[in-house]
């Protein structure tokens, strides 16, 4: 190595995409650079100029512009520009000007192409945003075992299976012999073809239930049943199973949703094993499962509030072990719903049974299964149409207050917009809710649009699920046929825009202003969620989760090919960045929030975030044109 090039090589080696290059490659590049000095305000690249070099900023700062003169980016020491032109027609698409006195290292085109050919990381970096973003998400996925590991990996043996006519005593003996903790009960094929299979001797069977250790205690011994009772008489009619190629994560969610500890695993219809809660916990030591069962074991709101630090700890562990944003979001939402449910159970114990049926509805991020550790409560009560305020409202107000106060004590702050069941406007019978929803869609004023964007993410947590389903149906049917509503929602979704990117320790705005922090929810995930919601409403999707909405949107022609995938990656990147920075806050013993400080953003993350902002910005521009204001409405914005 030539010592005189050390200075150049070491500098480049500190910045992506050069940081991943071998020393030999770096030496090679350093020995070929040409150097140029640019005084503040002078042009470095002019529009349509021919370009055969990659530009590397050794010192100073550079502004890059769009063809129309808009600021495209502000770059500092160690950043590169000109690669778009090199990869395309060698004409400068984005002119560049020195914002400060700037020293540029020019890397000749052959050297640039040599790097692209020999170093995949480098090639990814200089390619357009998409491959780079994809690579970041893929890389994260790879690190994330739980999401891709199949349930079958957890199985160590075939399940113990007995016929329905077997006595409990014989079944217990077989379980003991096999040192298992559950047995599958088989019968002749009957009413459910989903669970029928033929064994190795070609005999057809149907799996009709599962009997666990605890069933033997609670249903046999505690009830004083005879040891001769056939097991078929003990099993319920509800059988929850999972397919062997589902992920471990899905198995975990399945257990959470159904509050079961054993899951029979099927390969197509043949039982191949039983996973137990402890198998998953052994596999994935963090456990939101423990937390959830702990929530349901609490006998007071005060007890629940004491679990708040555990939520935080589970969150940190989960992300530390490679959970992606969907896993973290659904786990935290499940935890939030569990708190809500338990608080309702406790309230009902205290207040007595409800006078009329109700559904406790959640909205916002919890409905979308996208909660983070920083969240407030958005909820409402949908009451039976038999509701009579004069006689019943006192009960439901008390119920709502208990839940709302309880959630606040658990760390779910009160909703600033008062979107809570404690607000009488949001504690109404189903028919009123239907009227609300129809009215919001038919007459989209700014206030109603705000309501739509909150309440049109909706899910039930407790009580009569059918009420929420009816509202979901109403939205799915009405919204796609309401162009004025869609146009208004589309414009509403443009209220919050992403920044341009980062520059040194600042956030760069499109007008060139710089800020010290950025609220990644307000400037990233929230506008993206808004945007996805508009498309989802337009296509009548009943999904609530943004990724699932994108699946539904993907079935339509609403977006150009490939755009849905870009939005998905952008959503994942922005969500994960937000989550990672909340973890940093927690680890540095600050109150976690949605702000990120540029100095805490690593170089590679900066580039990914910038790409994601770009995707969002482009998608926002498209939204206006996709949902124009209908001519006859004659309404000016």
């Amino acid at each position: 190595m030539e010592v005189e090039l050390l200075e150049i090589r070491q500098h480049m080696g500190r910045f992506p995409p050069f940081d991943g290059l071998s020393d030999d490659l770096l030496d090679d590049i350093a020995s070929q650079v040409e150097v140029g000095y640019f005084k503040t305000g002078t042009d470095i690249l002019t529009l349509d100029q021919e370009l055969h070099e990659l530009c590397y900023i050794r010192s100073g700062a550079v502004e890059v512009y769009r063809r129309n003169g808009d600021l495209y980016n502000r770059l500092g020491e160690g950043d590169i520009f000109g690669h778009f032109s090199l990869l395309r027609n060698h004409r400068v698409r984005f002119p560049a000007r020195a914002l400060e006195d700037t020293l540029i290292y020019f890397i000749p085109e052959p050297a640039f192409h040599h790097l692209c050919d020999t170093d995949e990381h480098f090639a990814d970096f200089v390619e357009l945003g998409r491959p780079r973003m994809e690579a970041a998400v893929e890389q994260h996925k790879k690190a994330n075992d739980m999401m891709i590991t199949r349930v079958r990996k957890l199985l160590t043996r075939y399940p113990v299976m007995v016929e329905a006519t077997t006595t409990v005593q014989e079944a217990a003996r077989q379980i003991g012999e096999a040192q298992a903790s559950a047995v599958l009960v088989l019968d002749a094929p009957g009413d459910n073809p989903r669970y029928t299979f033929t064994d190795s001797e070609d005999r057809p069977w149907q799996v009709c239930g599962i009997l666990t250790d605890s069933d033997f205690r609670t249903r046999v011994v505690a009830e004083g049943l005879s040891p001769d009772t056939p097991v078929g008489e003990l099993i319920g009619n509800r059988l929850i199973t999972i397919q062997s190629d589902e992920s471990v994560h899905e198995a975990m969610l399945c257990m959470l949703r159904n509050n079961v500890h054993h899951l029979p695993v099927l390969h197509r219809r043949r039982p191949v094993g039983i996973v137990h809660l402890s198998d998953i916990i052994r596999y994935e030591t963090h456990s939101s499962l423990y937390l959830v069962s702990n929530i349901f074991n609490q006998s007071s709101a005060a007890g629940l509030a004491k679990l708040a630090p555990d939520v935080r700890a589970a969150f940190v562990r989960m992300v530390g072990e490679g959970a992606n944003s969907q896993m973290a979001g659904s786990a935290l939402s499940t935890i939030g719903r569990s708190f809500t449910r338990r608080l309702l159970e406790l309230a009902e114990q205290e207040l007595g049974p409800p006078p009329v049926p109700y559904c406790f509805m959640v909205n916002g991020s919890m409905a979308r299964n996208e909660q983070t550790i920083v969240t407030d409560q958005d909820n409402a009560l949908i009451l039976s149409d038999d509701f009579d305020a004069k006689y019943h409202d006192a009960y439901f107000l008390a119920l709502a207050e208990r839940v709302s106060d309880g959630l606040a004590a658990c760390g779910y702050t009160y909703c600033k917009g008062d979107v809570m069941a404690t607000n009488s406007q949001w504690r109404q019978p189903l028919s009123v809710w239907k009227h609300y929803f129809s009215d919001w869609i038919d007459n989209p004023t700014p206030e109603r649009l705000l309501h739509s964007s909150i309440f049109f993410d909706l899910d039930s947590t407790y009580g009569e699920e059918a009420y929420v389903e009816q509202l979901q149906d109403l939205v799915a049917q009405k919204a796609p046929a309401s162009p004025l509503f869609l146009a208004a929602m589309a414009r509403n979704a443009l209220n919050r825009t992403p920044p341009l990117g980062f520059f040194r320790t600042f956030v760069m705005e499109k007008d060139g202003k710089q800020n010290n922090t950025i609220n990644l929810k307000r400037r990233g995930t929230a506008p993206l969620v808004d945007l996805i919601r508009v498309h989802a409403l337009a296509c009548g999707s009943r999904a609530q989760n943004s990724f699932e909405r994108l699946d539904d949107i993907g079935q339509t022609q609403l977006l150009a090919p490939g755009v849905g995938e870009k939005l998905r990656y952008a959503m994942e990147l922005l969500s994960m960045a937000r989550i990672r920075h909340q973890i940093i806050d927690i680890q540095q013993e600050r109150t976690p929030d949605n702000d990120i400080e540029p100095e805490n953003v690593e170089d590679s993350e900066r580039h990914h975030l910038k790409d994601a902002f770009q995707v969002l910005s482009n998608a926002q521009k498209f939204l206006k044109y996709r949902y124009p204001i209908p001519a006859r409405a004659g309404r000016s914005r």
């Binding site: 005189e4 200075e7 150049i8 650079v33 150097v35 140029g36 010192s59 020293l103 020019f106």
Partner: protein
């Protein structure tokens, strides 16, 4: 030899005449080639002049007692410094190397022991400089040391026009009215050393002293000085000395 500092600036045009004259007289072929290549005319705009940044590391500052240890150069123009065409030689000094200069230049005794005598690299060095306007930081090292060393080996000296980035700094910071005012106010003089000068133009600090790195640093400094204080059309005759 003309006492050039005594000549009025208008006669700076004499450099081409001087080189032409020497070309006719030169006995050594490498020197003849160098002088024949000449230098840009004094009215050549600096933006069009082929330049070469040159830096020598020596065992000390006294041309009579000290000797050249290494030579670095890099050809450039106002637009681009072409690192790929850089040259660097370590040469065996005709006088002993002091411990102090070893630590300063990070050149070791064994490197020196294996190095050629300047005479061996001279043809390559002169060819690299030929036809280009030499740029140095502090001309009272490069020019006299080369002159002495070449005279000792070839019997003829070597003189050529240089643009001295230090004297360009001095014009602004030592000779200006503002500089006199500062002196009158008893403010310490502005440093015109290479790294300090670079800092004023936002150029990064390099870890000197290496002949090639300093040559690169000097080339960058000239680009910055011209971009800041002169026009690209400035005739080289106003800049050289």
């Amino acid at each position: 030899m003309l006492p050039r500092h005594l000549l009025p600036r208008s006669s700076a045009a004499d450099w081409p005449t001087y080189l032409e004259h020497r070309a006719a007289e030169a006995r050594q072929p490498e020197l003849a080639r160098f002088f024949t290549a000449g230098c840009p005319e004094p009215d050549t705009p600096i933006a069009e002049a082929p330049l070469v940044a040159l830096d020598l590391e020596t065992t000390g500052l006294d041309v009579r007692r000290h000797a050249i240890v290494s030579i670095g150069l890099v050809p450039f123009t106002l637009r681009r410094i072409r690192l790929a065409e850089r040259r660097y030689w370590v040469v065996r000094p005709s006088r002993p190397l002091s411990t102090q200069s070893i630590t300063m230049h990070r050149i070791t005794h064994s490197e020196i022991a294996e190095a050629p005598d300047l005479a061996e690299v001279l043809p390559e060095l002169l060819d690299a400089l030929a036809g280009r306007l030499v740029v140095v930081h502090f001309r009272h090292i490069e020019r006299p040391f080369l002159n002495e060393a070449i005279k000792a080996r070839l019997g003829e000296g070597l003189r050529f026009p240089v643009i001295d980035t230090m004297s360009l700094e001095a014009r602004r910071h030592r000779l200006s009215t503002w500089a006199r005012f500062r002196r009158w106010m008893r403010r310490p003089p502005v440093s015109i050393r290479l790294n300090d000068s670079r800092g004023r133009y936002g150029l990064p600090a390099y870890q000197g002293h290496h002949a090639l790195l300093d040559a690169l640093a000097t080339a960058e400094l000239l680009q910055a000085q011209i971009a800041t204080h002169y026009l690209p059309q400035t005739p080289v005759g106003e800049l050289w000395s």
